[in-house]
Symmetry: C2
Subunit: 311 residues, 2 copies
């Protein structure tokens, strides 16, 4: 690692993302000391049992003392409260960042409460699994995935470069864009897919004519693909919906319009329109595989011979 | 194999399902002879290069001569034409089945044209990948997956038992139900998920504000899960939409109603309603994993450490 390391990293929140940062920072030696804070004593104890950090504090303000890098790893709805808590204790010159899935809201929540002598650079590593909590993290989560930074006007280029280097050292590729564009992009690539997945799983759950056991038995015919996203952390996703409302409502409207057109093609038996759409969508997957963001193995590789026997 | 084998199996159509049947029948010795027919000379030649059968015929009528098991592995929209073609050549006592994803339509298309001296038993193996064509098949496709048979009234119990044993020998678990119930169940577990996946991928493809490269780069945040189903065979899925119209329109209506309610919760900031839905949907995935129909590994197991580096 030729990049300058951080002296003290404070992670506020230690779920899937926080614990994955802890793992990779330890493995790559990206900080001399890791301080972990979370509001739940139970979770904090678990983080300590897992050996994720060097020090553990229930008090977030205590955790950020003398830290030169502070990363909030909490649901986006908690950013303002945490920022108010830690702001008086922040060290001058510290980089303060986050990992939230919405960015304009995070800026609105955090920027007004931070002292002028820290470097506030919002961030979002585009990585995750359907698991949550401190046990879910692993050092390779960010490898080959993008991390988006959304610096506000007047951000120090040096601080931005240090934070970008940190994420590169975590295995990520780094992009910068403004918070509003981030929120629009994520609304379509992440928020809408999660909402649709939650919705379809809910619709299936409600069906009386089809027993739940049938939905489960025959889920390999398509349904199961949606259940992964619909098993994601409910608190995190409630907050995403509440904090990226406008972009999400816009994408939902577009989706619903398109679905109405598709429904009409089905009702009127317009086979050509169906065939055209079903052909057009094929190419996108090939591009995602070519970009290294997806496996090329059929069924995501989950049905490898022998696997079903081991279960 | 203690079950009586078939003397001659005729596969009409040799895509993903047909070629997978050929592989498993060969491996398990379920038929003495496999005859393959498909309307495309190019595909038939490919099947021969792959050694999937013992004989290859462009003429489907010729293929079914003296066959005691005939399985149509064609898009559901082709069932009537194929049945008219092969009917005069069918051997008395033969079992005639199919693998189509809709069943009431298949019964309507096939039953009127079949001679009385054959056993018509529609079937649907609930298995597949997003790949298609004769190269996509593999012997383990049906292992640990359900196969639904929808016998019509007056079906010979002996013939039904022989066909069920055949699918069991292919690795499947076998269920029987009536065609209408099948179509309702599959509309929610398979057809709706595919239509929704096609639709969301289409919506993303249309967005000008977000470049296509951004959709691809950041797809690991959720979108990529939908692209697998949306990469499925367009002809097959056009036919499913056209041939299970009523059940699909019913499920689309329910889905859209639920989505409208969810959209309203987002617009009005009803965090509790969002949290409740997002919590309820979590349990279904656990049940699917417990039923052996899904892997428990995060991200479907596709992001195993090291995999991204190999790509």
């Amino acid at each position: 690692m030729s990049n300058p390391k951080f002296r003290r990293l404070a992670l506020i929140g230690i779920g899937l993302i926080g614990s994955s940062i802890a793992h990779v920072v330890r493995r790559e030696g990206l900080a001399e000391e890791i301080v972990i804070s979370t509001r739940s004593a139970h979770t904090l104890r678990r983080a300590e049992e897992l050996g994720l950090g060097d020090r553990y504090c229930l008090d977030a303000a205590e955790a950020v003392e003398d830290a030169d890098l502070v990363i909030l790893c909490v649901p986006v709805g908690a950013c303002e409260a945490v920022t108010r808590w830690i702001a008086p204790a922040l060290s001058p010159g510290a980089i303060v960042s986050d990992v939230g899935s919405t960015k304009a809201s995070v800026v609105r929540q955090m920027a007004p409460h931070l002292p002028d002598n820290v470097h506030f650079i919002p961030g979002h590593p585009i990585a995750g699994t359907e698991e949550s909590g401190p046990d879910a993290g692993f050092a390779d989560l960010f490898r080959n995935r993008w991390c988006i930074l959304t610096p506000v006007e007047g951000t120090s280029p040096d601080a931005l470069e240090r934070l970008a280097a940190f994420w590169t050292d975590c295995g990520s590729m780094v992009d910068t864009m403004d918070a509003e564009h981030h929120d629009l992009v994520l609304a379509i690539v992440s928020h809408l897919p999660h909402i649709i997945a939650y919705n379809i799983v809910g619709t299936a759950d409600d069906l009386a004519a089809v027993t739940k056991s049938e939905v489960i038995k025959y889920s390999a015919s398509g349904f199961r693909d949606f259940t992964r996203l619909a098993a994601s952390d409910p608190t995190m996703w409630r907050d995403v919906c509440l904090h990226n409302k406008d972009a999400i409502l816009e994408m939902l409207s577009r989706f619903s319009e398109d679905l109405a057109a598709l429904q009409r093609s089905i009702r009127w038996g317009d086979g050509d329109a169906l065939f055209d759409l079903f052909t057009r969508t094929r190419g996108i997957r090939r591009s995602i595989i070519a970009a290294g963001q997806e496996t090329a193995t059929p069924n995501f590789g989950r049905d490898k011979p022998g696997e079903s026997e081991r279960r």
